[in-house]
Amino acid sequence: MSDENSKSLTLSVRKLRKSFGPVEVLHGIDLTLRGGEVHAILGENGAGKSTLVKILAGFEQLTGGELRISDDSGNSKRIDVWNNAIAEQAGVVLIHQEFNLAEQLTVAENIFLGNEIKGRVFLDKKTMRSKAQEYLDILRSDIDPDASVDQLPVSAKQMVEIAKAQAKNARVLVLDEPTAVLTQQESQVLFELIDRFRKEGVAIVFISHKLDEIEQIADVITVLRDGELVGSYPAADLSKDDMARLMVGRELSSLFPEMPEVPVAAEIVLRVDNLLLQGNSAPSSFELRKGEVLGFSGLVGSGRTALMETVLGLRKEAKGNSGCVELRGERVDFKQLSTARDKGVAYLTKDRKDSGLLLGKGLTFNFSLFSLHKISKLLIDTKLEKIAFEKAIETFDIRMKDRSIAAGNLSGGNQQKLLLAKILEAEPSIIIIDEPTRGIDIGTKSQIYCFIAELVASGHSLILISSDITEVIGLSHRVAVMYHGEISGVLEGNEIEEHEIMRYATGLKNKLSYHDQLESGISNAKA
């Protein structure tokens, strides 16, 4: 065991290609991961980072190019068969963005899941437990090996994942956006760990959108753009501006259309006042004005989607909620989404595949599902339906082989456009858009941005939830930032800037301005 531990490993790919069906998503990537190096992979959403690391860890098969492994003594061999089991055998371990833990089992059981230590007949629980404790001690973590995983906070779950990787004797550790769910302090603990692994000769792959972090810990930076390799660079040679430029490949501003100004006296169309979400202590308040894009920024899990779904009646508010929602000055309490829809409020889900479209059903079926009430009395008027669909294809530039394919056979970008068409067919005046460009190519992205600008110009009001900070900055008139389930600040004008947003998103800054303003507003009114 200890012999193996000291061995470091070099994993490299040459001219790697990956296609899903007819669509190629990685076009000839070269990459070398060396032991003792932190290798950051940088790229926009949809650039192919996740696919690449899934191939490295054997979860996806490459469709072209080659994969080589060489050890300390320089023996390099080409790998022909590569799957998850073989990859783990070789010491390549991927820690997923969404963790891969059995929630009902204990920490120790998870650490040895699929890797159990056996006695003669039964599992050797004692040894596993003490080994687990050992691994956790090395990580300087005080997690109880007997705790049930579903009781742990996210950062602890990540520790368990890392301990699990240790149990598998990881020589190449791939971390897919590990800090997305961590606070600043938790991230620092993780970085110390990464540093220690590096010194032990482990090759680390680190994916993150946060350029600060990459600058702090990376040795080598590889940039991907639209499935192409832009290049690999020593981290010391790149400034953060360089990284952003390489990643985007053009000036940032050109991607976003001109947004019309919101008149100062614009009517407040939606007011959420002290709404208490389930599982949160602080209530949320915000206002949306007519013709405005109100961006919602924050880390994954900061409660943006939960807040909107509570407003819309898709989730129950917390018990004892005394807050309320006002639509154009009228108090409303949406119990279900259809009520919201009928009042002109629509929600575009972030989960296109899980809650947006019926992938096995036809395009027209999907298109009209949200607005059937418009085209039916006793029976559905399929003629009207067809006409509306043809119009939507034109308006939203939905491209397909032929009309009869299932929604699941559309490309991601076209699925998103179909979803947008489906939501807008109900003619809402307030649209809540959740991650509208996740996993979408750059061309469709800019199309969607244009739709957003057109909607606002024609008097619609939008709430834009996005984890893509440039997108929020480029489209929003104001930006609300959420941190741990509460709105930590609403930024306007010059405050709308990446670093400032991150400060609010990570809890470094918290103005709770809304809360205070409201309270002072109330006391003023009383006086």
Binding site: L314, R341, L358, L369
Partner: protein
């Protein structure tokens, strides 16, 4: 609309094949008496199966239909016998019993629906439970024996099963009417679309502003009403009900639905397929009665084979898509 493919045409082809076998096996098969008998008998399972098509399309399952039919039969008979003393008009008594039957069916469906949606118990378990409850209730009501309908009413009521209109027994017309209404409801209305959507993916349905619980509950109520309609034409046939009434109807109904091409995991349903499925099942029983080659006792085995083959073919056709 997709062109004629194996999925759509399969059940119809199978029906033709079974029919030809019937013709070859025995001359009596083609007699008008035998054919109208087949149609009338298939109407019970057929009507129940049309309800089941909705439940299954919306992603549910209802195992309680056979027991529910027995329970409703028992209630109708008890009610009609009791009303004999107070109401003179036989027709009025029968109409009251029919109304009561529809009400019990709807309420029984509502209970199944609410238990699955509000209490969030799997449909399989809920309806397994209610299946036992209704079966036991009818046995209790009959005190372990048989409930018999008063002969005077039975004579009047028997017209509903044995009566003929335009050469076809009434039950066949009822079956046809339920099928047409079912077809329109499933394929041409918002409710039908919602059934498909809920059965395909509940989460997508929810985010498409569909009240998933209400749609699912409605399918169970529809199923209950269908069971009640089937019972209304079944009671005058024998004029009795016991713990043995409607046994295995749930499996035959589900089999008819599956043979017809509806997908058991939901999201895709076909009413005409179900009608054909019910006809195929009845035909097989009838043919086995008419031939010595295979024992009539093997009816269930043959039906079982047909279901398995049907699903196998469906899956194959699925993959080729």
């Amino acid at each position: 609309m997709p062109k004629l493919d194996l999925k759509t045409a399969g059940p119809f082809i199978a029906l033709v094949v079974v029919f030809i076998i019937g013709v070859l096996v025995n001359d009596a098969f083609l007699s008008s008496g035998n054919l109208s008998n087949i149609l009338a008998r298939s109407s019970f399972i057929g009507i129940v199966a049309i309800g089941a098509t909705f439940v299954i399309t919306a992603g549910g399952i209802d195992l309680s239909v056979g027991s529910m039919a027995a329970f409703i039969s028992g209630c109708m008979i008890l009610l009609m016998n009791a009303l004999m003393d107070t109401i003179d008009s036989m027709v009025a008594i029968i109409i009251l019993a029919i109304i009561a039957s529809l009400g019990i069916g709807a309420v029984a469906g509502l209970i199944n629906g609410l238990l699955t949606t509000k209490a969030k118990i799997e449909a399989f378990i809920v309806t397994l439970g209610t299946m036992g409850i209704y079966r036991s209730l009818v046995t209790y009501m009959a005190d372990g024996g048989t409930l018999s309908l008063n002969f005077t009413i039975g004579d009047v009521y028997s017209e509903v099963y044995y009566g003929v209109f335009l050469g076809l027994p009434y039950p066949v017309w009822v079956f046809l009417a339920v099928a047409v209404i079912g077809y329109v409801l499933l394929n041409m209305t918002v409710f039908g679309r919602h059934c498909f959507a809920v059965g395909s993916n509940e989460s997508v349905a929810r985010y498409s502003a569909i009240n998933v619980d209400r749609v699912k509950t409605a399918t169970y109520m529809l199923q209950g009403v269908c069971v009640s309609i089937a019972t209304i034409i079944y009671v005058p046939r024998l004029g009795s009900a016991s713990g043995q009434t409607g046994i295995l109807w749930e499996l035959e109904a589900i089999a008819a639905v599956i043979i017809g091409g509806t997908v058991l995991k939901g999201g895709y349903g076909r009413i005409w397929g179900t009608v054909v499925g019910a006809l195929i099942l009845t035909l097989i029983g009838n043919i086995l009665n008419l031939t010595d080659a295979v024992s009539n006792y093997l009816n269930g085995a043959v039906q079982g084979i047909i279901v398995i083959v049907a699903v196998y073919l469906q899956r194959g056709a699925w993959r080729r898509d």
